[in-house]
Amino acid sequence: MDALDVARWQFGVTTVYHFLFVPLTIGLSVLVAVLQTRWHRTGDPRYLRLTKFYGKLFLINFAMGVVTGIVQEFQFGMNWSDYSRFVGDVFGAPLAIEALLAFFLESTFLGLWIFGWDRLPRRVHLATIWAAALGSTLSAYFILAANSWMQNPVGYRINPDTGRAELTDIVAVLTNKVTLVTFPHTLAGCFLVAGALMVSIALWHLRRPADAPAPAATGTDTPDPESTKAGQDRAAFRFAARFGAWVTLAAAVAVVITGDQQGKIMTEVQPMKMAAAEALYTTEAPASFSVLTVGSLDGSRELFAIKIPYLLSILGTGDPNGQVRGINDLQAQYVSQYGPGGYTPIIPVTYWSFRFMIGLGLAAAAIALWVLWAQRRGRTPTSRWLFRAGLVMPVLPLAANCFGWIFTEMGRQPWVVFGEMLTRDGVSRSVSLPEVLTSFTAFTLVYATLAVVEVRLLLRYARAGLPDVEPAPEPDPGTDDENRPLAFAY
């Protein structure tokens, strides 16, 4: 083990951890904005209660996303200083633009949204959550533009004097074809998580008979009378379950479509990653896709595999008989192109992360479909198996997101910037093993502790159910009482 290994582990752990919070920040901010917009349009207090309920969960999650995001920005310089020197001219620009355009928008307007219920006219207050959601979405665009440049460097030249990459075309960087498919794919993945979380919590409340005012009212399938609080809660959560399920389903369709497009571009610009996704050693036309393989994935022997013919060709080229190049061919080509060395990622990691990503995402979509079926024509879900499935539902797309990142980053190895810089050449030379080990240990321990705190808090507030809320009074300088309690306070 050397400093390089630890720096890589730290990057993996902190990035995946950070991305546990990002999808909910992006997805849930929009869903909460939609709920608040419905309240604004209809005046139905049910939507205000849902806004506050899911808004609270959103904020518990948001705090973690913010603080773990700063680590990401600092980490490039701290652990990967040679990488930073080499790419800063190109890679730094989207990061700086992200901060100026997106993070200020997100954090400033979220502050206004959280504390502004009684300080802003309702219409303006509604606009603040949309502005914050826009900020989060924009931030995804710029950081993905930076990451896509590492996958498919464009719009730059290598300065022969300094040996560093220099930006020559910002438009090329921001319209990198990898960015243009990765951005919608990632956004869809975010909504998959947010929709699933919304469904999951709503289902949990719908199964709980304790919500009913009297035991006699439980178990009846007749629509609850909206006059009781329990009835209102159930009606609100039934809406949330249906809304969340539609979002999940729509997001799943978008994930599949954009993922398919990504497959084609990946085959074009990073053929090794596509070959590694399938553990395809020899070039094939047509190429089949294996659902799973038992045995070793080193190409020597395969005990058992379930294969779907033509699928890999379709995924990679759009043509059922299209040629997909194998690892051995590509390795030989890269040796002649870049010199001796290993240019193959760790195949079991790419192979399985690719499958887990797809499988877990589709499983969440299937549960969403089930929820919609169970709620067809005003029915209330009653299946205990559905409630159980609902409990694990948000974890599935969350894990799928993580595996997606593990796949795309591990699939780029051994490169940190494809074709330009190897990961091992990017690490900070002045940082010692004890230093990076201290840092890795500290982040791992702190992140683990905070994960426990965060999940317990989320569960606590998810269980607590819908809050009783009065719409905050609109600001009126004439009658404002100096001692009036704030609508929201930390």
Partner: protein, 331 residues
């Protein structure tokens, strides 16, 4: 003026803005156990910065992002060289940020007390460590000819750097007290006002000494002028806190922090990180900067969007301009 110089000024402006804005956030956090004698009072303190602290912290994210983009060489050496101070700052900012959001999510005292400790330490540590970082930036650190950091942890803990840490901690604490006197009512306001007057005296002495030593290490005419301005601002803040002119006191401490940071950057120019060992290792505005095209693109982005950001962030302060007292804290 060439583009690298423009970006040197912009980076200096971003760090100056960050220290002025998060300076009082840190001060409020440091004063939490001192000025907040019970839970309601502590909530008053936290809520003065509740809507704005996160936006203030984005100044740091933007400064670091700008540094990465405009001066990759500076960013790379600074962040890898100042490894442990930055690691501690990151950990502190993590706990502090989460604490603001989570503290009020449960009512039990043990829970709240734990997060209070996180807010206090999460504010005190960066307040000290940023001073150590900027003092080392000015004094220079051991750099090899390839610009890599060639020192150890102890090289960062010189007496001058420690004085820098004490200075920023004092500046931020006084700035926080002044801010609280301006933003609260009742007993908290009185206590903050009294503490600001006492703190301003100690801060003036510390910061004055630090600035004087700074100018003996390296100076430019601009740095001398800015340091003189900082001294005037400190004395102004001191006077204003004595006569309880809260608004002017805040202008004074904000100017004192801004001018102190500006002094450091002005004294540094045209170097960005001097080497104390191999002179070839010294990073300058010229040898650490990005290419002309990259800087031009970013200049346009900054010109278009920075005024917009300043406008809406300023508007936020206007929206939450009212003072807060214990009566305003809901159950």
């Amino acid at each position: 003026m060439d583009l690298p110089t423009v970006w040197f000024l912009l980076i200096a402006a971003l760090f100056t803005g960050y220290f002025i804005l998060e300076g009082f956030d840190f001060g409020v956090g440091i004063l939490l156990p001192v000025l907040g004698r019970n839970d309601r009072e502590r909530r008053v303190l936290i809520n003065t910065i509740g809507p704005v602290w996160d936006g203030n912290e984005v100044w740091l994210i933007t400064a670091a992002g700008g540094l990465f983009a405009a001066f990759p060489g500076w960013y790379a050496t600074l962040f890898s060289g100042f490894y442990l101070p930055l690691l501690l700052i990151l950990l502190a900012l993590i706990f502090r940020g989460v604490a603001f959001e989570y503290r009020h999510k449960r009512t039990d005292t043990a829970w709240k007390n734990r997060w209070d400790v996180a807010i206090f330490l999460g504010s005190l540590l960066p307040a000290v460590l940023w001073g150590i970082v900027v003092a080392n930036l000015l004094r220079g650190v051991p750099l090899a000819a390839d610009h890599e950091y060639a020192g150890g942890l102890l090289d960062l803990l010189s007496p001058y750097a420690l004085l820098g840490g004490a200075t920023t901690a004092a500046l931020f604490t006084t700035h926080g007290a002044v801010f609280l006197a301006l933003k609260t009512t009742g007993q908290v306001r009185d206590r903050a006002g009294r503490l600001a007057a006492r703190g301003a005296l100690a801060t003036t002495l510390l910061a004055g000494t630090f600035l004087a030593i700074t100018l003996t290490i390296r100076h430019t005419p601009a740095a001398v002028g800015l340091a003189a301005g900082a001294a005037v601002a400190l004395l102004g803040a001191l006077t204003a806190t004595r006569v309880r002119r809260e608004g002017w006191a805040f202008v004074g401490t904000a100017a004192a922090i801004g001018l102190t940071v500006a002094t450091l950057f002005a004294a540094l120019f045209p170097n960005v990180l001097p080497s104390t060992t191999d002179p070839a290792g010294t990073l300058t505005v010229a040898n650490a900067a990005s290419g002309a095209y990259s800087l031009k693109v970013m200049t346009w982005v900054a010109v278009v969007f920075a005024p917009l950001v300043l406008a809406y962030q300023g508007w936020t302060y206007w929206v939450f301009r009212k003072r807060i007292g214990v009566a305003n804290i809901p159950e």
